[in-house]
Symmetry: C2
Subunit: 214 residues, 2 copies
């Protein structure tokens, strides 16, 4: 546990990291409960006592994976805090960095997603809910700001936030769970542009031009 935090924070090909990688692959593919310690150590090319030496238990290796992932996601929220750019630009940036975090780390995100929106499968509790809700509330704060400074059209910030979150959430979920049907980065951007035309002040103006309004 002492050498847990390698300088770059991620995988070299030490035995320890090969175990982590194998566990991520299997938990993502089959689920926590359906994955046995035997399978993890086989995939890592070691024997059982090695896993217990580094991680104490099956729960231990799971918790290390999820703690890292949770911290990574939390870091993304910082994209919102700098008020230099417009709400719209910050929203795009948040969607983009989140999309990156997901697509670069699909398997870990699949595990997290399964625990956030599925049954616990006997795994120890980790409060992902808090991370997700922080995300939702950060977006809501942005929407309030945008409506207040006139960048966005007036409306109920809560409801508009639900629509925006729904868009991003569905895109992320499809990318995780049905990649062949999912939006790519460009597709997500296009759908967000639809939201932009609907809820932003300049967006509505554009939309009306397009309609050649009366």
């Amino acid at each position: 546990m002492s050498e847990a935090a390698t300088p770059a924070e991620h995988l070299d090909n030490s035995v320890r990291d090969r175990l982590l990688q194998a566990a991520v692959d299997l938990f993502a593919e089959k689920g926590y409960a359906a994955t046995s310690v035997r399978e993890i150590v086989a995939a890592a090319g070691v024997t059982k006592p090695v896993l217990y030496y580094y991680f104490q238990s099956k729960e231990g290796i799971y918790l290390e994976i999820m703690t890292r992932a949770s911290n990574d996601l939390q870091a993304n929220l910082e994209a919102i805090s700098d008020r230099a750019s417009s709400v719209w630009e910050r929203l795009l940036k948040l969607a983009d960095t989140t999309y990156n975090a997901y697509s670069e780390n699909i398997k870990t995100m699949k595990i997290m997603h399964a625990m956030m929106f599925g049954p616990p499968q006997g795994a120890p509790f980790v409060d992902f809910n808090a991370v997700y809700w922080a995300f939702h509330q950060a977006v809501e704060a942005m929407v309030k700001e945008g409506m207040h400074n006139g960048e966005m059209l007036p409306g109920d910030p809560k409801n508009v936030t639900w629509v925006l979150m729904g868009t991003v959430h569905l895109a992320m979920e499809m990318a995780l769970c049905q990649p062949e049907k999912a939006l790519d980065r460009q597709g997500l951007r296009e759908v967000l542009e639809v939201n932009h035309r609907a809820f932003w002040a300049r967006g509505l103006a554009n939309q009306r031009e397009n309609r050649n309004d009366d």
Copy 2:
């Protein structure tokens, strides 16, 4: 298996249905892999051979639960097919019947959702994906119809469908997974109204009136 389809299709308090109910509760609460046959029969107040007598295996009882659920969901899509009412009314009706199907049967829907968007947990494959995608495509067909007949504003039907599906999907998912944070039926309707104002022809007119446009 012969007496599977009771007249009303659902639970009396026969031993068989008590087993089904116990299995639904446990699969929803802990997940398929983390639930043992022993727990199911204990919750139903019977012994193991009884479960194997009625359902042949753990997979058997799971498959019966999921087959019923899948059929129920598929039936909801019929709300779309009658072209008597407007696209908007049909969309509202679909959202409402789906919300009902979910909230009346939360535990079964949780299992289905976990299998649709989470790891298989060693459970036998059921093609929920097809049901979900049929839903998505039915909405897309409605949006195309609405844009074509002038009920909705012009735009890319695919992208608008993603926004609408995102709204409904997030509402359903929160209702399943974080009920205390979720939208109630009225809340879902309000968020859909936001979509209405954004993407429907009369909706935009209303929005512009509200803004007291220049």
